[in-house]
């Protein structure tokens, strides 16, 4: 089962895990990305392209499913305004054995950073607002998975 979503509402991690886990899997890996309150950050805003962001997430999910033997895959990215502690992204991957579940999870989070139409804007307590710049390290991590 592949579930790839972009949503403005809060990600209910427990409910998503229940849905993902239905039936049970031999091995499941997870990644949960949360908003950090570093430097007195008060808001993280995620801009997106209504059609292309959803299509990008679906493409990425299918690329992982083509590459590894997965029994379930959940890939949910939140958009809009968030505060520190809220979940930005949830990745759940399951397989018969741990190696494929763990590799697929890492692939998805690495590629999310470079392949999907999402842009982060940070607002700080002192009023500063800045768009996050891409990091070279993220590009290198995404490229290590090849085409």
């Amino acid at each position: 089962m592949i579930r790839a979503l972009v949503q403005p509402g809060a990600i209910d991690v427990a409910a998503e895990l229940d849905l993902h886990d239905a039936g049970g899997h031999g091995a499941s890996a997870s990644f949960i990305g949360r908003v950090r309150g570093d430097d007195d950050l008060t808001e993280l805003f995620l801009d997106h392209h209504p059609a292309m962001t959803a299509a990008g997430l679906a493409d990425l999910a299918h690329a992982a499913a083509d590459r590894w033997h997965l029994s379930a895959l959940t890939l949910i990215h939140r958009v809009g305004a968030m505060v520190p502690g809220e979940t930005i992204v949830l990745v759940l991957t399951s397989s018969a054995h741990r190696a494929e579940a763990l590799a697929a999870c890492e692939f998805l989070i690495d590629r999310l950073k470079t392949d999907v139409m999402l842009w982060k804007r940070e607002t700080f307590a002192d009023g500063r607002v800045q768009w996050v710049e891409p990091r070279e390290g993220d590009q290198a991590r995404a490229e290590k998975w090849g085409a």
Binding site: G33, L46, D47, H48, H49, A51, M52, A55, H77, I88, V89, I109, L112, K113, T114, D115, V116, M117, L118, W119, K120, R121, W131, V132, E133, P134, D138
Partner: protein, 85 residues
């Protein structure tokens, strides 16, 4: 040629609008030329497109490079490199 252009992230903020329909001259034939043309069109375009190498583009939902032709395009999206995850 009439073209729908959509802007995202800081490109949208600097342009002050999310999208517009523009009549582009025949000489503006590809994505790179469109970015140059928008950058020269007015004050906000000059700010938004001051650094063309930081602009990415998609034509009708597909990521494209600066050499991609605009003929037949319905919507061009212009945006900075992505930063999700």
């Amino acid at each position: 040629m009439a073209l729908n252009i959509a802007y995202f992230a800081w490109v949208r903020e600097r342009m002050g609008i999310a999208d517009e329909t523009v009549e582009i001259p025949a000489s503006v034939a590809d994505v790179g030329a469109l970015v140059t043309w928008l950058g020269a069109r007015d004050a906000r375009g000059k700010i938004a497109f001051a650094e063309p190498h930081r602009i990415r583009a998609a034509i009708d939902g597909v990521m494209m490079g600066p050499d991609a032709p605009l003929s037949g395009a319905k919507e061009v999206a212009l945006f900075p490199p992505v930063t999700g995850g």
